[in-house]
Amino acid sequence: MLASLRNSVLSLVRDKALLVWVLAFPIIMTCIFMGMFSGIEDAYTAVGSTLGVVRDENYTAALGLDETIQAISDASSDQRICDVTYYESSAEAKAAADAGEVDAYLTVDGEGTPQLNVTHAGIAENGSLPTSFLVEVLDFYLHARNAIEKVAVTRPELLATGDALSAFTGNAVQTVRLSATKNPPSADARYYYALLAMATGMGATAAMESVRRLLPTAGPLGARQTLAAVHRWRMLVGALLGAWLCQLACLIAATLFMWGVADVPFGENVPGVVGALAASSLMACAAGALCGTAPRMETGMISGITCLLSLFTGLYGTASQQLADSIEATAPALAHVNPLWQTTNCFYALLYYDTPGAFLESFAALLMMALVFLALASLRMRRTSYDHL
Amino acid sequence: MASSEAVVRIRNLVKRYGELVAVDHLSLDIAPGEVFGLLGPNGSGKTTTINCILQLLSYDHGEIELFGQPMRPNSYQLKRRIGVVPQEVAVFDELTVRENVDSFCALYVSDRARRRELVDEAIEFVGLQKFEGFRPKKLSGGLLRRLNIACGIAHRPELIIMDEPTVAVDPQSRESILSGIERLNAGGATVIYTSHYMEEVERLCSRIMIMDHGRSVASGTADELKGMVGTGEKISVEVDEMDDATLEHVRSLPHVRAAEMDASVLHVQCTSGAHNLADVLGVLSGAGVSYGRVLSEPPTLNDVFLEITGRALRDEA
């Protein structure tokens, strides 16, 4: 068994396919993600847009509007949500919008009501959030002005002293952000976890190759090994163990890289993280062993299936995350049979929950899947050998 | 033989891989209609020479002419007249037997109707009619070799170069391949044939060259080669009893190189001489040794080969 293990480890390391998928792939993607998400933590960069402002009589007549616009475009402030360009007429602003120089432009009508004119291009490129922000800020301006005017009718003295203005715009009510979870939620963790899950899935190819080499049907090498004076199950267990150890080592290295270089949060429970990696890679190896018994299976198929399953862990960007979320909300069972989902969920649970329940559920689910795959694989392996002999 | 008649004419071919001289000033001529055997141990430069002829390899020095014209990488008119059966099976795994033969034939013959005939003939020639629709992975070793040949000869080349076409095939397939080559030759094709199987070469080849270390070490017909090395027949005589003096006497005969007693059989290795058997039997009769079965084997090409290239193991460089 030890010899078979050693054999399997040596050939996997020398073959490099495993190293590429389970080590190089996550490390490369981690570097890409690091670059991509370096700006995402700051909520305001995500809502930045370019705003044109038509500075005509109506605009200057609107009480306090220019101050509001300046406050949200002040480059030195963390309240900044847009860059402002001023235009003399709405025709000029429209031309600029058509030319794609601004995402939207602001006009004010005779009654002082602001109107936001939005380009399709801006929405197509950045989504509706930046514009929603502008709308929200302008709405607040409008509502506060309404309120002050209302106050001025009954208590004009408050307007004169400025008390009315400060009452409404003094930020008297604040929110404090609490943390429900053990660690603060992180938007990018999701990508990294999905990436680890994909690397795990790709690792199944290694187990498949290791097992296939031992099958008598796979060619002369398999036949030669079948004739060896060692119990078949010992060789298979050795080969699988070797594949599992290799994959686990690669995954741990990749995780260390994510944690050390990309500052990906994994929580404090180190044994838990290693356990999650071990369970996930065991599941992947078992799945690979099962695939190895299917004669028509190719490595390309495993990578294809993994690509598909990764869609439902939200690896492929925002759109796929929304899809994954809606599937989880409407058909949780469907989401949960995805072994890669269970892998990502292990990491989530470790990061966010202070009770081990959710982690243990996913951990157990992974082990169950591994057992099922292994059982099916061993059934099929017995069959193949009898077929052959 | 005038050089203009030669199908293949090589002069002073030199091919080096760094320090290693793979082909060392090789010259040879092959006449039309010949089956030319190229022999030599592994690594002696046979395949390198063939690859040079085909311009798959560039060479450092020398001239190669085919059909009287210098061979160049873009001598397409010359290439059209050549068929190649490489040592390794060179077919597309993704295509069926018929598609394979057709796709290689198409590199030579563009007319489709004509090609269909040629492909039919080639498949029939190697006897793969029943396997036309099979992919190579489903074929046994012998069938695969036959497909490999069909792909090389479908376009009816005038010069066929076969690099060990019978490696790892069963006797039936080998017989079919060999007789096929004889038929191709009878049809007028010139053949260059390399092999490790001496009996094949002896049977097929009108002329043989033995290569070693990139050099031609001997060439001629099989008989000429046998004569060249001075190896004569091997004589085995069953004797009842023989004393050492008689054995010494046998050894001292002029054409006897070695004589050994093995149990009750006397083995005598001779150099080529006119009446070796009579001489040996004469000594035995003279000494009063009574003998039973007498066996005299003429020298084989194998003996010649080992004699010329030595018995040390190859592939050790």
Binding site: W21, F25, M29, F33, G35, M36, A43, Y44, A46, V47, D98, T113, P114, N117, T119, H120, I123, A124, E125, L129, P130, T131, S132, F133, V135, E136, F140, H143, A144, N146, A147, K150, F168, N171, A172, V173, T175, V176, S179, T181, P185, A187, G300, S303, G304, L308, G317, T318, Q322, L323, Y352, Y353, T355 | V84, P86, A90, E94, S103, F104, Y108
Partner: protein
Amino acid sequence: MTTFRTYLKIFLSHRVYIAIYLVMLSLVGVIIGLSTSQAATGEFQPTSVNVAVIDRDGSELSAALASHVLAGNNQVDVADEKRAIQDAVARDQVSYLLVIPEGWGEGLLDAARRGTQAPNLETYVSYYSGAGRLVDVEATGYADGLYGMAATLGGSEADVVAATDASWEGSTRVSMIEQAAAPLPASIVTAAEFASYPIFSSAMVCIAVLMSSVGRQPVRDRRLASPEPAHARNLALLGACVTIALIAWVWNFGLEVVVFGGSALGSSPVQVALVGAALLVYALVSASVGFLAGQLGVSENAANALANILGMVMSFLGGAWTGLSLLPDELLAVAHFTPAYWATLVIDGAAGMGEVSGATVMPLVGNLGVCALFGVAAVLVGLVLGRSRARAQVA
């Protein structure tokens, strides 16, 4: 011609790769496109955020705040328990969870009378996301209104709420700028941008596999010994590469047009054509990268890995998956060196094109040209490397 047909036969025999990379991954793109909200593009649809409110106060003020925050957003019910809050936040079920603490309404009225800060509201956000921030602005704005009314006009809780709600009527008018051209539906844009991945990986893997099959040493030798001229061989290979790219393109783009593009084809044919052209150029570039990999003699397994990894890297860097606006400047600079970036620019540009005119279309055509240059470069490098490799083998 026969060589070309041979190549196609070989390509078609690798059905697994076609099934997985071409068919399955492109269906993933369609699924993603279908899940994209099918917003009517004529009007502005403000971002709707998943919001939950836990009202521990139960006062009129808190109820008013809660209903204001929930209006216009997606209400998610979250129980007032730790595990439920954890679940909601950790799984991103809500982007913004507002907790109105007990006694908040009282405290606000008190503070307004005395002119001090009102008690804080508590929030849980899933990420520090723009969406959560947006609701925060909404919530504090309205709460500031309540405070202001209480501080100025005063009165009972009901009075304050009524006065505030009266002022909080009306809103900024938002209109989409009338444009000569009808914009493309978001679904086809999302699907087309995702398609960069299946197109790249399918074209590249199929070509690399084809070339590794054709380039196996014995087969290669046999072909080199044949009278087939080198240019004919290269032409056939190029033809096969282009054909594979075309197949990848026709399948992906055709699927998108059929599923999402029915109406857009009539209302904005130029934009659809630009999206199609972007994908076509990208498919050709992918094919040339496959050609390069084939010339480098990459094995089937390596081609498979490269197709996936490169495909994902390109789609991410090109902004096809997360949007170019999210990329930080440094990475955006790097992205300029990927063909996917230029293709995405064209798709985004076509999606929101104000009017169809030379001035708006030409820059996009220029971007297409830049994208195509990557393909040309890959082919040239492939040819040069292929030649020097051939020479290295010969020497």
